[in-house]
């Protein structure tokens, strides 16, 4: 092939560990056959040999190149099979694709992050990246909601974040249980109680479509401008190269032009929350 890399051919990666995060969500720890770099917020196509592939934003630190963590919610055909994998098998990785979070544009600002459900996976990678550059940031606030306490992923992450200078982390649940003593309500309700300097701030939203929609509307209500809000969009990204057409969102290919967009960029495109 003229020495050129075949863009359709996945890089093999050995699955070394499967971490059960919640009843529906597992984290897959992968060791790629060669070092693999990505920018936080970019996504990969992760495949099960002979079965299929699906797009995921790695949940691990972009500073680590010899190990990759991908957090997967069991929600369809491919992810259901992924959840049955055991360490030792090889998975396939294509990518990284698209445009991630422009971390340098956050410098000198407060970063308000709103996450829901499995949307904390890309956010965890972003948090690692922000921790690395925290001297350049004013403050980082994470507001995260899960359906129930059991559905919350990365539970130890919250205490850890609260112990880091400039970082604050808050949790809520849609529905509590006998042990839950924290706030109850959907993720955007946490925004009522955060102290943030809106004019010198950016907001990041990642989660299920319904939360993305109402979370964004809430953030706009707080006074954020369209261009201050960064959304990690989810569509049916397949080729990852802006060619196959499955992730078209109006004039944009989510896989190539995104998946991270400012609200300003996409607000006029059709069906952005579907």
């Amino acid at each position: 092939m003229s020495g050129q890399r075949n863009i359709y051919k996945p890089l093999k990666a050995r699955l070394t560990e499967v971490i059960e995060e919640s009843p529906l969500i597992k984290t897959f720890v992968l060791i790629p056959e060669e070092d693999f770099s990505f920018s936080t917020g970019q996504f990969i196509e992760l495949s099960v040999d002979g079965i299929g592939e699906a797009p995921f934003t790695p949940s691990s630190s972009p500073l680590i190149h010899d190990r990759l963590e991908v957090t997967v919610m069991k929600t369809g055909y491919v992810t259901e099979i992924m959840h049955n994998l055991i360490p030792g098998v090889f998975m396939g990785i294509r990518g990284p694709y698209g445009r991630g979070y422009p971390v340098e544009r956050f410098f000198g600002k407060e970063v308000l992050i709103l996450g829901g459900g499995c949307g904390l996976a890309p956010i965890r990678s972003l948090l690692y990246a922000l921790e690395h550059v925290k001297d350049n940031l004013e403050k980082v606030i994470l507001c995260y909601g899960s359906k129930t306490p059991a559905d919350c992923i990365y539970k130890p992450l919250f205490n850890r974040l609260n112990s880091i200078d400039k970082f604050e982390a808050y949790r809520t649940v849609d529905k509590g249980d006998e042990e839950w003593v924290g706030p109850v309500g959907v993720a955007p309700t946490l925004l009522n109680n955060v102290s943030v300097n809106v004019t010198n701030s950016v907001a990041v939203v990642c989660g299920p479509p319904v939360m993305m929609k109402y979370g964004t509307l809430k953030i706009l209500e707080m006074g954020y401008k369209d261009e201050q809000i960064y959304l990690s969009m989810e569509k049916n990204m397949s080729c990852g190269l802006g060619k196959c057409g499955h992730c078209m969102m109006g004039e944009f290919f989510v896989c190539k032009d995104g998946p991270v967009f400012t609200y300003n960029e996409i607000k006029d495109q059709p069906n952005i929350w579907d």
Partner: protein
């Protein structure tokens, strides 16, 4: 434009000689119309020249319906494709932008493009629904193809378009440069006659430069009206010379098969969680028009339609894109 000429009899001998070193494809007639065939010795005299619009669009030579894109390609002979009309040739300009762009160089597409000599055909007359001129496209190739071919009174005239085409002609001893003014004006008259015929037949169609604007102004009612006859068969996209969306299918050994796909099929944009922004039929129907006349032009060339009219020919619901545009143009006034 420079031309070489060769008698039809000698041209047939040229093709015969090429068969030993090249895969030659050209249209021949059947009860279904004329379409490309892998040319064997016995087919040479049956090749149909200068008939507009073979059934299959040229794209299928470069984007097969299905192919393994992770394996090595070995032993492919050089190809010559005779007969594509200019609506198909012009479509390659868009496909080249998509598949040979600086950020994405599809090695399978590129190798096929490099490996192929395209001898485009000048259309004499028109087929039903041909309307290339309404998109500013001439019914004879002057770019992208390597040569343009027209037969007049038993003589094959080959218009030189690319260096590859010229190199090909230089190897044919029996072809000669044609400088006779009388012949050149005869060819021009054939071109003009077809252009005039196409212009006359399609005079109600809106200026293609306005198609994006009138599609963007169209209300939901018109999409509901025209999509009411759509059965999501995807024939329009399958037969379109510029539609090139695809699906990747995983096979054991981390192999991938790329298969042409269409936004008209249900589930095209459905994600694992069930959300599907093209769930409703009229949204899928509208999506194709938005893509061709607004989104693709924003990213690539002016319009992603070359006026071949195959989508109208192929539609089992008898949805006529040109009628839709005339209605849109009337309501946009």
């Amino acid at each position: 434009m420079r031309y070489n000429s060769i008698t039809k009899k000698k041209w047939d001998k040229v093709i015969l000689d090429l068969l030993s070193s090249h895969d030659v494809f050209a249209p021949v007639s059947s009860e279904h119309g004329h379409d490309y065939k892998y040319i064997a010795v016995s087919d040479i005299e049956a090749i149909v020249y200068n008939e507009p619009k073979p059934v299959t669009p040229l794209k299928n030579f470069f984007l097969p319906v299905k192919e393994n894109v992770t394996g090595e390609r070995i032993g492919e002979r050089p190809r010559i494709i005779i007969g594509p009309p200019n609506c198909d040739v012009e479509a390659l300009a868009l496909l080249d932008e998509i598949y040979l762009g600086s950020d994405f160089n599809d090695i399978f597409y590129r190798k096929r493009r490099e490996n192929t000599i395209i001898i485009g055909s000048d259309c004499i007359g028109k087929q039903e629904h041909c309307h290339c001129t309404s998109y500013g496209i001439r019914p004879y190739p002057t770019t992208i193809a390597d040569l343009g071919l027209i037969i007049i009174e038993g003589i094959v005239y080959l218009r030189i378009i690319t260096q590859k085409g010229e190199d090909f002609l230089n190897k044919i001893e029996s072809s000669h440069e044609c400088k006779e003014e009388e012949i050149l004006s005869l060819i021009e008259r054939e071109h003009s006659a077809t252009e005039a015929l196409l212009a006359e037949t399609n005079k109600g169609l809106p200026d293609y430069k306005r198609t994006g604007e009138i599609v963007s102004l169209a209300g939901k009612e018109i999409w509901l009206k025209y999509s009411s006859k759509c059965v999501s068969c995807g024939a329009c996209a399958t037969i379109c010379p510029t539609c090139s969306c695809f699906l990747l299918i995983d096979k054991p050994g981390f192999e991938k098969v790329k298969q042409l796909d269409a936004c008209q099929y249900p589930g095209f944009e459905r994600v694992a969680g069930g959300e599907d922004s093209l769930f409703r039929l009229h949204n899928r129907f509208r999506n194709r028009y938005m893509c061709k006349y607004i989104w693709k032009p924003q990213k690539f060339r002016p319009v992603a339609c070359t006026g071949c009219g195959r989508c109208i020919d192929a539609c089992i619901g008898k949805i006529n894109k040109n009628e839709l545009f005339m209605e849109l143009a009337r309501t946009a006034l």
